[in-house]
């Protein structure tokens, strides 16, 4: 079946502009995660959606970052007034939330954001 998809693949923007990044999770996966991967670094957790529960926003670095998940499926990560330090690859992942699945997260190909 189809995996996690993300769009756009690459995004170049000017400092101060707003950007929206999209994630389509695997159908049936109730959990959705956003991570940020800066150059040469590991993945940094941003936000986690689980079903209809309130999202876990504990990883968002500032109030310029927000995300929503509509209808329990597609998610959009929005960065307002982008800064150069926001340049990174933004990865989305989805998973089932059953112990039988071992909570394996399936990742999308990421969006590379460059802020000039």
């Amino acid at each position: 079946g189809a995996g996690v998809s993300q769009s756009p693949s690459n995004k170049v923007t000017e400092k101060g502009k707003d950007v929206e990044l999209r994630c389509d999770p695997i159908s049936g996966h109730t959990a959705l995660y956003w991570y940020r991967q800066s150059l040469g670094q590991g993945l940094e957790f941003l936000i986690y959606f689980q079903g209809n529960s309130a999202p876990d926003k504990s990883g968002l670095p500032s109030d310029r970052f927000s995300a929503e998940r509509t209808g329990g499926s597609v998610s959009t990560l929005t960065i307002q007034r982008t800064q150069q330090e926001d340049s990174a690859v933004y990865l989305c992942a989805s998973s089932l939330t059953t112990s039988g699945s071992m909570y394996e997260q399936f990742f999308g190909p990421g969006t590379r954001l460059t802020v000039l």
Binding site: Y35, D56, M102
Partner: protein
């Protein structure tokens, strides 16, 4: 808070040889999951192997195996009969089973080169 440490930023192995990538973690929890992910230049994160903390038996997936030492909080990855396609970034990751903490906590990665 849990942390994951990969002390080898880069490793190199000769094709057909064996290489071991190190990972240590810090947690006060007794039950959790551990993962190794591979990230080739395409950016796509691919699950290599996973381990449930309550299982003493080390996980194995074809040429990939782990040495899980729970008391030492160590989770190393062994790649046997290395192939050119194994060249990638490898990330060790931890998942708590506590509460709503569904995200993975990643190490900073080890870049593996395979020499022909």
């Amino acid at each position: 808070a849990q942390t994951v440490t990969q002390s080898q930023p880069e490793m190199s192995v000769q094709e057909a040889e064996t290489v071991t990538l190190s990972c240590t973690y810090d947690t006060s929890e007794s039950d959790y999951y551990l993962f190794w992910y591979k990230q080739p230049p395409s950016r796509q994160m691919i699950l290599v192997i996973r381990q449930e903390a309550y299982k003493q038996q080390n996980a194995t997936e074809n040429r990939f195996s782990v040495n899980f030492q729970k008391a030492a909080k160590s989770f190393s990855l062994k790649i046997s009969d290395s192939q050119l396609g194994d060249a990638a970034m490898y990330f060790c990751a931890y998942r708590s089973l506590r509460g709503s903490q569904g995200n993975l906590i990643f190490g900073k990665g080890t870049k593996l080169s395979v020499k022909p």
